[in-house]
Each structure stands twice: as C-alpha cells, then as structure tokens.
C-alpha cells in the first residue's frame, strides 16, 4: 500500500505542483467571497484527485501496475486512501489560508468559520469521489478523460449553489446529530464505493 502511495507521489510530481498552483489562483480570486473557503478546498481536492487518476491512464499505466507484485485490490485501495488524504489536505489548507488571512487582515474575509465549514466540504468530496472512482476504474482509457470533463462541468455548475447552502446551514445553526449521521453515512458510502470499485476493476480486462 505504502509503495503505491509513494508511486503516485513520484509519478504525479508535476500534477501535484499544478494543484498547488490551482489552490493559489482560486485563493486569490475567491478570497473575498463568502463561500471561498469551501470552493477552494473542493476544487483543489478534485483537481488533485483527477490528475492523480488520469496519470494512471495517460499511457495505459494500469497495464504496467498490474505487472508489479500487487493485487488490483491494493491498487484501488491505495487510490481511495490517497484521495482521502488529498481531500483532507486540500480542505484543511483552504481553512488554514483563509483563517490566516482573516487574522492578518481583519475584515477582508466577511464570514467566520466553524467545524461545519471543514466537515461539509470533506463530506461532499467523499460523496463525489465515491461516485467518480467506480466509473473511472470501470471505464476504458478513452472514457476516463471524458468522465473528468463531465465532473469538471458538474463542479462549475454545482459548486457555487452547494457552497451557499453550506454557508446558510452554518448561519442557521448546526443540528449536530444530523451532521454526525450524515458524516457517518458519507464514510460508509466511501467504504462501500471502494469495495464496488475493487470488484469492478478485478473483473476488468486490461
């Protein structure tokens, strides 16, 4: 598992640098907006996950990976673990930068942040990744880039309304039992998605 995570970090060095760039650009352009923290976290997380996955299909690299002493199950599980790490880092980085700016330049960011502002973007990304990865691993090399474009459009269309919804929810007070229930369901969905993807990828001919 660790070797597969290491593999992604070496193979996707350039993509990871690009993710830092995307993070910086979106921070600069959205910082003053109410939903900036959520959008920057979600977009950076998705950009990183999609570049990490595309990196494996760019040159039919799954055909190389399955020749290594790892099972397909490990290949999929490593991608789920890495995606989770990317999501948490992207959302926390967004929270960290926005909080720092809020402290350094009081009044520049018009809203305050609570735990819900961290947990909900993570939950949204877990749901999206749970949908994205089974499709990615069952589609052919040609289908994967198309899937990424579809998800990118979905983000552009849905990103703003979802972020507003999060903001409104945090303003109206938090129903903690509901929040924790939703989070638990999201984690369970992510685990179930991982099992489904392992099943689909194991059956696939490369």
């Amino acid at each position: 598992m660790l070797n597969l995570l290491r593999k992604d970090l070496i193979a996707a060095k350039i993509s990871l640098v690009m993710s830092v760039g995307i993070f910086a650009v979106f921070c600069i352009f959205f910082m003053k907006k109410e939903m900036s923290m959520h959008l920057v976290g979600i977009i950076t997380a998705f950009a990183t996950i999609s570049s990490l996955t595309l990196n494996d299909t760019k040159n039919h690299n799954h055909q190389f990976l399955v020749t290594l002493p790892v099972s397909r199950k490990h290949i999929v599980q490593a991608k789920y673990v890495l995606s989770l790490i990317c999501i948490i880092i992207a959302v926390l980085a967004s929270y960290g930068v926005h909080s720092l700016v809020k402290i350094a330049v009081p009044g520049y960011i018009p809203v305050g942040y609570t735990i819900i502002d961290i947990l909900v973007p993570i939950a949204i990304m877990l749901v999206l990744t749970s949908i994205y990865l089974p499709f990615f691993y069952s589609l052919s090399e040609k289908g994967a880039p198309v899937l990424n474009v579809i998800f990118l459009f979905l983000f552009l269309i849905m990103g703003d309304p979802v972020a507003r919804l999060i903001h409104m929810a945090s303003l109206n007070g938090i129903n903690y039992p509901l929040l924790y229930g939703a989070l638990l369901s999201t984690v369970l969905l992510y685990v179930a998605s991982c099992y489904l993807t392992v099943y689909l990828f194991t059956k696939k001919d490369l």
Partner: protein, 288 residues
C-alpha cells in the same frame, strides 16, 4: 516440473476466440511461443499475467494458482513486453524508485550495471526513450529482482540486430541457473532458432503443438516437386502448399510418411520455424 500450467483456457472476444488452450511450460528451459500476428499469443500471455481474465480454465505459475497467489507469483517473475506502459513523464531513476520497493529481492547493483551495459542514462525521461531503449529498461528491471520466470511478449520486435544478439546472450546467462525459465513470444523465429528448447505454436486462437524444438524441426519437412504429384488425397497430407507454374512446395507434418509417399519423386528439405508458421497460417493452397 512445470513453470506454467495452462488448463482449458478460453477467452471469447466479438471477433476472436482463444479456444480451450492447455499448455505446460517446462521449468529450466526456454519456450518459444510462436504464431502469426493476431492469433492469440499476447492474449495468452495477458491471461497468464492476470491482465485478461479468462472466461474459463485455470492458470498455475511456479506451482501457485493465479490469480489467488498473484502477489507472491509476481515477486518471482519478470515481464518484458514490446508495450512497456511506464510513466512517460518520469526519469529512469524515478521509475526505478517506483518499481524497486515492490520487490523483496531487488538488486540495486545489478540494475545499475545493466543500465551501464545498455547505455541508459538514469536522467533520461521514459517518454524520450525509443521502443528498443524501453525494452532494454524493462529487461534491466526484470533481471534485477532475481526472477525465476521471465515472460517476454515480442521483446525483440523493436530491437536492432546487435542488441538482439546481446539479449539472447543475456537470456543464455540467465539460464545458467537450471531453475530459471523463460517463455518468449515472438514472430521473429530466428531468435528462437538460436535459443529455444521448446516451441509452442499458436494459430487462430488454438495451440497447434508444444514440443521440443529439435523434435519439431525433425518432424516437419518442406517437400518440393512437380505439380502432377498433387491430387486431392495428397493435398490433405500438407499443412500448406504453395504452387507455382514450375511446381509445388509444401509443408508436411510427418517427414517419414512423406518420404514413403513420394519416394524419389520429390525433394525434402528441413523446415524452419518460419516455414511452419507460414504454411500453417496460410493453410490449404497458397498461390505464388
């Protein structure tokens, strides 16, 4: 003991079927998997490696079932293919950093000496390598983790004649250890003429034969003679016949039977592996 045991392997595609193939690859020998392009050699190798899941049948490698023990099996095998799907954007050094930790018996010193021998710069990006250089890199990787079984799919197709000879020497070196085994899929039969011990011939998705090379070459023969010698019964004795205005030339599976049949009326020549592929692939009558 067999290094690879295939039993009743079947895989059906819309326009092509690998049909009920059973094959034993003997341990300690080099087996050449021959056949024309597109007859199922690569599909067979992909099924052996678990890249393609067979519709039915079983694969056993080094005594272990695939895919049940695939991780243990892959520790003990090396793979060299003409399609090396490495990450194009990384350097040879980084690719090695990706691959090496997966293998328990990785030999860094051996790997570096192969890079030097093959004149591969560790700084060079994989995407900048020619097909031949990629195969050299794949070979360096395969030979650096003490693989007991080397599976090679068309490894010489992108190589110049100098390195092809060098490769055959390297394979011969590997075979100094009598426990090592090589299966070598190719349609360039001259390579197998030099090093193969066994030949497995695949045609139209089926295994035609799998026998010691010398027995195959002794058994098959090219028969040349006048066209008048051919009638419908005689034609059935040929795996393939090529007819010209001056006579015929055909491949028979049983040289002794053909000698009894034609006596002094025909000329008999030793068949090459290329002849065997050609006439079997064409089948029936071939017009020159």
């Amino acid at each position: 003991m067999n290094a690879i045991e295939l039993r009743n392997l079947t895989k059906t595609y819309p326009q092509f079927t690998v049909n009920n193939v059973s094959l034993d690859v003997k341990r300690g020998y080099i087996t050449g998997l021959i056949g024309p392009n597109g007859v199922g050699k690569s599909t067979l190798i992909k099924m052996i490696l678990g890249m393609v899941r067979p519709d039915s049948g079983s694969v056993k490698i080094l005594g272990c079932d695939m895919p049940k023990h695939e991780v243990d099996i892959k520790q003990r095998i090396g793979i060299v293919s003409d399609d090396c799907f490495y990450y194009e954007d990384v350097s040879i050094r980084d690719m090695k950093r990706i691959i090496a930790p997966f293998y328990k018996k990785w030999n860094e010193q051996k790997f570096n000496s192969y890079l030097e021998q093959f004149e591969l710069s560790p700084k060079k990006k994989i995407g900048q390598l020619s097909k031949g250089m990629k195969i050299k890199f794949a070979l360096a990787v395969a030979l650096s983790h003490e693989a007991e079984l080397l599976i090679m799919d068309e490894p010489t197709s992108g190589l110049d004649p100098v390195f092809r000879r060098e490769l055959l020497d390297l394979l011969a070196d590997m075979m100094q250890d009598e426990q090592n085994t090589i299966i070598f899929s190719t349609h360039i039969t001259t390579d197998l003429d030099r090093i193969a011990d066994y030949i497995s011939f695949v045609n139209r998705g089926q295994l035609v034969f799998s026998e010691p090379k010398d027995e195959v070459l002794d058994r098959y023969a090219i028969v040349k003679g006048d066209r008048q010698l051919l009638d419908s019964d005689i034609r059935k004795k040929f795996a393939g016949v090529r007819e010209t205005a001056f006579g015929f030339e055909g491949l028979v599976e049983d040289r002794q039977e053909a000698e009894r049949l034609f006596g002094n009326l025909a000329v008999f020549e030793k068949a090459s592996l290329e002849d065997i592929i050609y006439y079997n692939a064409k089948g029936g009558r071939v017009h020159a």
